[in-house]
């Protein structure tokens, strides 16, 4: 067990930290009520929040019958063909946009948001992009798989993802067959999804690629299909074992390798705590994850209750990613997401369902450049102008309550003073309050959580 945070450590600031990191933050009231549950109760609430699928009905999406489409285009005249393709492209664009909105709204309105946050982690881990997959339906299906296993056993998740049509298209698994295996999925499975670079050989990749042959997608239903005749059932040697291995066997070997728990524990820690664990902590984390049979929910339960997670090296040391920045801002200000959230996230460098490549988003300092920093400042102003927060409810004594709402920690004294001075000079009308919040958001300090 990781050493547990003691009771004195469970302050309102600690509760805010937990809500920010395990979820996407919240209003002062949400922090107060999470704090009132005590540490154990709060973590329990976050990890076992009841399914809210019924509150967030997915956009109406049906699998496109690619077989019928192919048939239609094969007999069409060039003009008709172009027409059909234009219609498909437009429909895909609209559906993708609805899908993004649906997921972002879920992050915004889910009462605690921890499952959505974990789903976001796994989306960055099993990074798959609509840019190549093209089919919004497949991206939605993958998103549901990530959500279903977000707090579940990793091995099962890995098996599901290897059969996931979006992933299969993204890493060319659908083209891999006996005698002509495509290495793309096998390589990334090891390099990015399980054990990490340097812990396998080029030969392991080629052997694993053979084990993953025969994976196909039914063009009518868009579901996984195993084409036995395309599968290479010959003997493979992989990680020191020999046999006529299947893809699931390969995943089994990889997950059983201690390097896998180490690789994933480190990645989870970085995502939730903000910076790489020390070698000592990493050893401990990897051992715990392994002891818990790579059950992510159980592992996070220990992390969220550990003393280490609330240490000064962790609290307010993480640079917010664009999605975190946007969703947290709207939750804190108790406003809806802006209608052009898609566009905003594109400019800030994190488009849901379109990670830049199979490694996902680099995160950390890579989120911030001189360009994205200024864009955050400017976008914040637009969001406040259109989101219309209830300024008068913020009332008197605005500076301290706004600082708590937005930062949940003391700021450098000179910065506090500048805020107070600004309000002193401009009064506390709605316009002045809005400007003050815009300026609070236009600081380096607001970029961390």
């Amino acid at each position: 067990m990781l050493e547990r945070l003691d009771n004195e450590g469970w302050t309102p600031s600690a509760a805010a930290h937990l809500l920010n990191r395990a979820g996407f933050g919240g209003s002062p009231e949400a922090i107060t009520s999470l704090h009132a549950r005590g540490l154990g109760g709060a973590v329990e609430a976050l990890l076992s929040e009841a399914s809210d699928d019924d509150l967030f009905p997915p956009p109406a999406m049906i699998p496109r019958d690619l077989e019928a489409l192919k048939k239609a285009t094969s007999t069409a005249s060039p003009e008709e063909k172009k027409k059909i393709q234009t219609a498909v492209t437009r429909e895909n664009r609209e559906q993708t946009s609805l899908l993004r909105r649906w997921w972002l709204d879920r992050m915004r309105w889910s009462p605690l948001g921890a499952r959505e946050k974990a789903t976001l982690f796994w989306h960055g881990h099993w990074a798959t992009s609509i840019e190549k997959v093209k089919e919004p339906f497949a991206m939605w299906q993958q998103n549901e798989t990530l959500r279903a296993y977000a707090f579940g056993p990793f091995e099962q998740m890995a098996r599901e993802i290897s059969r996931d049509p979006a992933m299969m298209r993204y890493l060319d698994l659908t083209q891999s067959k006996k005698g002509k295996p495509n290495e793309n999925f096998a390589r990334e499975l090891m390099e990015l999804f399980t054990v990490g670079e340097g812990h396998y050989s080029e030969d392991d990749i080629q052997q694993a690629a053979r084990a993953f042959t025969g994976y196909r997608v039914n063009p009518k239903t868009q579901q996984f299909l195993f084409a036995r005749r395309q599968f290479d059932d010959g003997t493979k040697s992989f990680f020191g074992f020999e046999g006529p291995f299947s893809g699931d066997d390969v995943i089994g070997f990889l997950v059983a390798d201690p390097q896998c728990s180490k690789f994933l524990a480190s990645k989870l820690w970085v995502f939730y705590a903000g910076s790489p664990p020390s070698p000592r902590l990493l050893t401990e984390l990897a051992e715990r994850y392994r002891a818990l049979h790579l059950d992510t929910g159980e592992f996070l339960r220990e992390i969220f209750q550990s003393r280490e997670f609330y240490s000064p090296a962790v609290v307010r040391r993480q640079i917010k990613g664009p999605i975190q920045w946007l969703v947290q801002l709207c939750r804190q200000m108790e406003i809806a997401l802006p209608p052009d959230s898609d566009q905003i996230l594109r400019q800030l460098g994190q488009i849901p369902f379109a990670p830049p490549n199979v490694k996902g988003w680099d995160g950390g300092r890579a989120w911030i450049s001189s360009a994205t920093l200024l864009q955050r400042y400017n976008t914040a102003g637009n969001i406040l102008a259109r989101g219309k927060p209830n300024w008068q409810a913020l009332g008197a004594n605005a500076t301290p309550s706004l600082v708590w709402r937005l930062f949940q920690s003391p700021l450098p004294p000179d910065l506090n003073q500048k805020f107070a001075d600004y309000l002193g000079e401009h009064g506390s009308g709605s316009a002045a309050l809005r400007d003050l919040v815009h300026l609070m958001l236009s600081t380096p300090d607001y970029q961390i959580t």
Binding site: K180, L192, S370, L374, R434, H438
Partner: protein, 426 residues
């Protein structure tokens, strides 16, 4: 604090080296400045309107070198690629030609502005996109990891005390190549958005003043960092403050320059073309930038590569051709060198999906008015392979070393950690 900085910069720029005067400063005076204050002299050099500029163009995803510079006369090439071999390249000689979409580059070869370096790679090649990109960006050995980039180390060793805009990356992200001990270099995609929009507030002047005051060094501890003597390390807040300050200081200049400078030459549509167009306008406007960084993605052609590769190279060719034409009409072509690179080439044999898997060595282009044209390195063998991949004959750091030493005129060793043989393309 920032006052000191401001004064110091003004002192360097206007008083000591004085605006336009600094560009024509006699050599002996420059040397004197070196002995007086190396940093100051360096600044003088950077603001000069005739100092050399390097543009780094990343082809992300692993460009298929064999279908870019095509060994069309080699039987082994045709055998290895029954469905995707390029049979009608634009001939460079009896054995090599460029992809048919590279007509602009082919013209530059004739005009004497294009060098092609063949078989570029490194020992023990890594076939991971990310690791291999990291190796190229940090110029490390394949078995070592480095956190700082080769361009970042150039900033650290040669650009102390200079304008943050000494490096400009077009795009919203900063490439790892820019990672430095003392962070430098700015990134932006759209200049019109690269500023703080204070007019959206009810009191723009007050908001502007407030923005400036909170986005600069706001405590005593940061003063040293800004002077470059005590570099910011590790701390997230220091990094953010530094970025905020750089953004604030550069945005006025960038906006002013891009507002006034227009390109005389038409550019094709597409992201790469607009990036290079922006670079050309910044060069024309006299930015103190020495290294620009632009990227084109999509080269990971595992399946059905024929059409996609053709489109990528077509975009590349059209964008670079417009850029070169633009620089020529500005009269700046002589001081700009553009280098392309990609993390690896692709496997010699095509795969079963009409594409190619990750490979190793590949050719790269260096072009510009000051480039010595021609083919460099040896044409790679397609029969003597390692793991199905081309063996490199030129270490990519030799290309960097040549550009550092003979183009930017700076010592190589502090940047690449050791000497590498240079190549005669500049």
């Amino acid at each position: 604090m920032s006052k000191t900085l401001h004064t110091r910069r003004q002192f360097l720029r206007t008083s000591l080296l004085g605006g336009a005067v600094s560009w024509s400063i006699p050599v002996f005076l420059e040397r004197t400045f070196f002995s007086l204050d190396a940093q100051a002299a360096d600044s003088a050099f950077a603001t000069g309107k005739d100092s050399p500029i390097l543009v780094v163009l990343q082809l992300a995803g692993g460009n298929d070198g064999l279908n870019t510079v095509v060994p069309f006369a080699d039987d082994a090439y045709l055998r290895a690629r029954p469905s995707i071999a390029i049979k009608d390249p634009l001939r460079l000689n009896d054995s090599l030609g460029l992809h048919p979409k590279l007509a602009g580059l082919r013209g530059m070869y004739d005009d004497g502005n294009l060098a092609i370096v063949q078989g570029v790679g490194y020992p023990n090649p890594n076939r991971s996109h990310f690791r291999s990109t990291e190796i190229w960006q940090t110029a490390s050995d394949a078995n070592k990891t480095e956190s700082r980039g080769w361009i970042g180390r150039y900033f650290d060793s040669c650009c102390q005390g200079e304008d943050p805009a000494v490096g400009v990356s077009i795009g919203n992200q900063t490439p790892q190549a820019f990672a430095a001990r003392d962070p430098k270099g700015i990134s932006f995609a759209q200049p019109e958005q690269f500023r703080f929009a204070s007019e959206k507030t009810s009191d723009p002047d007050a908001a502007e003043e407030f923005f400036r005051s909170v986005n600069e060094a706001n405590d005593g501890g940061s003063i040293g960092m800004l002077e470059g003597s005590a570099p910011a390390q590790g701390e997230t807040m220091d990094f953010l403050r530094r970025t905020a300050l750089d953004a604030q200081m550069s945005s006025d200049k960038v906006l002013a320059i891009t507002r006034k400078s227009r390109s005389e030459v038409p550019y094709p549509p597409g992201n790469l073309a607009s990036s290079l167009n922006l670079v050309a306008r910044l060069i024309a406007g006299g930015m103190p930038t020495r290294i620009y960084y632009v990227a084109q993605g999509g080269y990971d052609t595992h399946s059905n590569q024929k059409g996609s590769h053709e489109r990528l190279l077509g975009d590349l060719d059209a964008a670079v051709t417009a850029f070169v034409g633009d620089l020529k009409s500005q009269g700046n072509l002589e001081r700009v060198a553009l280098m392309t690179f990609s993390e690896f080439g692709r496997r010699v044999a095509e795969n079963g999906s009409g594409g190619t898997d990750h490979g190793a060595a590949a050719p790269l282009f260096v072009l510009g008015g000051g480039v010595k044209p021609g083919l460099y390195g040896t044409s790679p063998s397609l029969t003597d392979l390692r793991g199905g991949d081309i063996i490199h004959h030129v270490d990519f750091r030799s290309v960097y070393a040549s550009l550092l030493q003979n183009w930017l005129h700076v010592p190589v060793k502090p940047i690449l950690h050791r000497e590498f043989p240079t190549i005669g393309f500049v």
